[in-house]
């Protein structure tokens, strides 16, 4: 390592890093923080709903909590946490030294973080957004306070970061694969990250357009949604759900990828029906764009549209079913190890099937008129998002923790965490199916006694408490396990990320690997000497320099947002000037990066 690199302080190093591994860890830390925040919001809501007519929070606060819970969990917790794994693991799985655009990777992270912080500052500056995470107009355009301005600007900034990250992953996976790593040899996590990134590329522009229209309407008096002067409020719903439905798949597909890796590894078997799994992923991604109006069956788009979108939605069950059965048959004939990572992957199957079948029930448009906007829907999407995405995140965390942090999470604590969380999760959400059918709409700040839903709501809240206790166990586990050092390949892994030393060297692979088969490392373990063959001689490695500019670009937009919200346009101009200035510096300043020398690599790898 050059002297200039070594002399930097730790803080400066993390603020300026363009290393995909450090950025991945920063995504996990920031996403983990927002996950805890969103969880706290959920608990406050569940306490309020513990008894009928309860007065724990006001109706206004409740509306803010439900809005921020949804927005935080989707945009600031689930997606960034998945990005954390994608950032750290995907380049390793394809044998790359970094992502295609390291600088953009850093920019994507800081945009997300500043956008998320902006959104949450609304709590302290006049109230959080209160129109639901879907922010339907005209409630959000004409009947809400400044909270919605924070929503509109915070999500635009963090959405920009997401879009940048998505493009970066697409280019990385297309261009940066090691020799021999053909598309059909890519691990499923990489495949699903690839498809999810493509969905980001096509879905986020719809959200950006919607948010832009809403911003122009709120801050500059435009009238796209103002009915009195010929606007149309349904346009917002179309734009939101053209983004919003694929967003569900943006979340769930990488989680599917994690389960494919974990189930295969801990069954000691190759993934059953690999090519069927890949095509199912592609078909789900494609169909994900064809079904958005199933969120709008009751809006009045007519029986023809309702029927078409109902059938299209049902069609998604087919590729999803293919995946479920292929996972089951991956375990069939295997030697199943019940590690915490695998417990989450195994528990995912029945939990997600529950969420899947209620999804089909909801897709039944004529019956949807009863389900829509009730707790049945709340139960359904929590089954999908917790039973699918969150289980995936926990499974991935226990699985990749040794790779990312060099130590193993404690398995005993992990299993306590798993069982408590699983039980709490089903206790919370299973009863909500019935609460909904018995007449409780979603997003209600309270409910009247004597409707037959008092006990079920109490039970649901108890489940939520169990989930919080479980989450605390996870945090404890992360702290107490630090000394539990791990070897480089603790799980008898199958894919390339387990073929490198721990802690992962800055350059990942001393020599670019040569991939000979699906499950490259497993193949070398069973057909070779257990070591991945190199595709190049050992030589100096070229690395990109870090940069502080992404923070300034994001900070500029953050400042400009305050200028826009409070209509203090000098601040807007200063903010935009900082962003554009940083972009200008980035454009004119040549940066050739640096080399890690062969001798240093040899020393670090323990060769020669």
């Amino acid at each position: 390592m050059s002297n200039a690199q070594a002399q930097k302080s730790v803080l400066w190093d993390w603020l300026t890093t363009v290393d995909h591994k450090k950025i991945g860890i920063m995504y996990l830390v920031a996403g983990g923080f927002f996950f805890a925040l969103g969880g706290l919001e959920a608990i406050l809501m569940r306490i309020q709903l513990m008894f009928p007519n309860f007065d724990f929070v006001t109706a206004q606060t409740f509306n803010e909590l439900l809005t921020m819970h949804g927005t935080t969990m989707i945009f600031l917790a689930a997606m960034p946490l998945l990005f954390g794994f994608m950032n750290y693991i995907v380049p390793l799985q394809i044998g790359a030294r970094d992502v295609a655009f390291p600088f953009l990777n850093s920019l994507g992270f800081w945009l997300f973080l500043f956008g998320g912080v902006l959104l949450n500052l609304s709590w302290f500056l006049g109230g959080a957004p209160d129109a639901g995470w879907t922010a339907y107009v005209p409630l959000s355009s004409e009947y809400s306070g400044t909270g919605i301005d924070y929503y509109v600007l915070g999500l635009q900034i963090s959405g920009l970061g997401t879009l940048i990250a998505g493009i970066n992953f697409l280019v990385t996976i297309i261009n940066m694969r090691a020799p021999g790593m053909s598309m059909m040899r890519m691990p499923l996590f990489t495949w699903s990250s690839f498809v999810a990134s493509a969905l980001i590329l096509f879905a986020f522009p719809a959200l950006t357009v919607g948010l832009l229209l809403l911003m122009l309407e709120r801050l500059f008096g435009a009238t796209y949604f103002a009915v009195d002067v010929g606007g149309n409020v349904v346009i917002w719903q179309h734009l939101f759900w053209i983004f919003g439905h694929p967003e569900v798949y943006i979340l769930i597909l990488p989680a599917f990828g994690i389960f494919s890796e974990v189930l295969s590894t801990f069954s000691k078997k190759r993934l059953f029906g690999y090519s069927a799994m890949v095509f199912a992923t592609l078909i789900i991604g494609f169909l994900g764009f064809m079904v958005w109006a199933h969120h709008m069956f009751t809006v009045g788009i007519g029986p023809v549209a309702n029927a078409i979108f109902a059938v299209a939605t049902m069609a998604i069950a087919v590729p999803t079913g293919i995946k479920i059965f292929n996972w089951l048959f991956t375990m069939w004939g295997g030697r199943i190890q019940f590690t915490t990572a695998n417990l989450f992957a195994i528990a995912f199957i029945p939990s997600f099937v529950m969420g899947g079948v209620t999804g089909i029930m909801l897709a039944t448009s004529a019956a949807n008129y009863q389900f829509h906007d009730t707790y049945f829907v709340v139960a359904h999407f929590h089954y999908v998002i917790i039973g699918g995405v969150v289980f995936g995140l926990f499974s991935g965390a226990f699985y990749w923790w040794p790779r990312m942090f060099g130590y193993k999470l404690n398995e005993t604590l992990g299993k306590w965490f798993f069982w408590l969380f699983l039980f709490g999760f089903h206790l919370t959400f299973f009863v909500q199916h019935f609460i909904g059918l018995m007449g409780m709409p979603r997003r209600v700040a309270s409910y009247l006694p004597g409707q037959g839903i008092d006990e079920l709501n109490f039970v649901s809240t108890m489940g939520a408490f169990l989930m919080s206790v479980a989450f605390i166990l996870l945090v404890v586990n992360v702290i107490v396990s630090v000394k539990n050092k791990s070897e480089a390949d603790p799980w008898d892994g199958r894919t390339l990320e387990w073929a490198i030393p721990t802690p992962t060297p800055e350059y990942n692979f001393a020599q670019t690997p040569l991939v000979r088969e699906l499950d490259a490392l497993w193949y070398e373990k069973t057909h070779g000497n257990g070591k991945i063959k190199a595709a190049e001689p050992l030589d100096d490695i070229h690395m990109p320099n870090g940069s502080i500019l992404p923070i300034f670009m994001s900070l500029g937009l953050f400042l400009a947002s305050f200028g826009l919200i409070y209509q203090v346009h000098p601040v807007t101009i200063i903010g935009l000037a900082i962003t554009l200035g940083a972009m200008f510096i980035r454009s004119i300043k040549e940066d050739h990066g640096y080399h890690i020398h062969k001798e240093d690599i040899k020393k670090e790898e323990g060769v020669g």
């Binding site: 109706a59 078997k269 009045g300 069950a317 048959f329 295997g334 199943i336 079948v357 007449g439």
Partner: protein, 342 residues
């Protein structure tokens, strides 16, 4: 009973759920053909889904028991690539199951959208406001609020609109919901074979008072409905010029404080105002959710915001009223009835 073949096999699944929830609120105990159609479809989909869950659970449990790692077992399982026949099976069977569900669903979707108006149909224009419901019967020239009277065994067609934000019109025991969207008129139909009071709710987040935006559907026999309609359209002069001393005082208080926003018997009110109060004395609840008694009524009039958050925007509190003024106002309001007491 052409739907019998669909109802029978799975009625047992829903049977144990039938007792769930408050009568005339739960969607699990349908009281009209629309809700019944939806209930049947829920049952059919539930049956198919239970089948799917059973199949998955059977394989799942077998796999976990049979192929778990036993102590000392170090064998390397055979690395199976896949099986084309299995892939075809678990692609084809779900497609068949979905077709079984999709066909009745498409048929029902079109049946529910058929809002043709015939001579016997009662048409009601519903307008949702933050946070109350206005019901106008265009053919009968009646406007009322909160309590929606309908004749039994009659086709009712609703035209749904909203005056401010999006709301959603839901009567779980009679029919699934339709949104009321500003600038757009949606429609739906219902029928109620049995007399009764059915609970209705707003199902789309519409602001602070959303959770209390309840209403009632009161199904009465056609004769009573005619009497009600007659009483609403041509109200007794007693409603406007009460003869009782206290009620007459109350009427005076009403004219000074309430009449600008609330109409009684076709007098007063305005398009931006509150619900028509012609039959207020017969309202099931105050403000759609409070028990109808004098204390609640006084509390509501003095400070609506405290009872139903967000409603203070539309209706200021009248805490300035003296106690005797309040008493006579309440007396007058409770006298506003259009049906004969029985």
């Amino acid at each position: 009973m052409k739907n019998l073949w669909r109802v029978l096999p799975f009625s047992f699944i829903l049977l144990f759920l039938a007792g769930c929830g408050k009568q005339n609120l739960t969607a699990l105990d349908p009281r009209g053909p629309v809700a019944e159609m939806q209930h049947n479809l829920i049952g059919l989909s539930l049956l198919i889904m239970v089948f799917v869950i059973v199949v998955v659970a059977a394989i799942f449990i077998y796999v976990l028991v049979r192929f778990r790692e036993k102590p000392g077992d170090n064998h390397i399982p055979e690395q199976v690539e896949g099986n084309k026949n299995l892939e075809i099976i678990w692609t084809a069977i779900p497609i068949v199951l979905l077709i079984i569900l999709a066909i009745p669903n498409v048929m029902d979707t079109f049946t529910l959208a058929d809002t043709e108006v015939t001579d016997d149909t009662v048409v009601v224009n519903v307008t949702a406001h933050q946070y109350w419901w206005e019901f106008e019967y265009p053919d009968l020239e009646i406007t009322t609020g909160q309590d929606l009277y309908i004749p039994t065994d009659t086709r009712i067609v609703f035209n749904l609109e909203a005056s401010d934000v999006i709301h959603s019109f839901w009567i779980p025991a009679l029919a699934g919901k339709q949104d009321t969207v500003p600038g757009i008129t949606n429609d739906m139909w219902i029928e109620a074979p049995e007399e009764g009071v059915y609970l209705g709710k707003c199902a789309e987040l519409c602001g602070e008072g959303h959770w209390l935006m309840d209403f009632k559907v009161i199904a009465v026999d056609p004769d009573t409905f005619d009497e009600w309609a007659q009483g609403m359209a041509e109200p007794d002069s007693e409603l406007i010029e009460p003869t009782g001393e206290v009620a007459a005082e109350g009427r005076e208080v009403f004219e000074q404080n309430c009449l600008a926003c609330h109409a009684v018997g076709g007098e007063g009110g305005n398009p931006q105002g509150g619900p028509d109060l012609t039959n207020f004395g017969e309202r099931e609840n105050i403000a759609g959710f409070m028990d109808h008694n004098d204390e609640n009524l006084e509390a509501w009039i003095r400070d609506p915001e405290a009872e139903k958050p967000g409603s203070g925007v539309g209706m200021p509190g009248f805490d300035n009223l003296e106690d005797d003024e309040m008493d006579s106002l309440i007396d007058y309001l409770n006298s506003l009835k259009v049906l004969d007491d029985e």
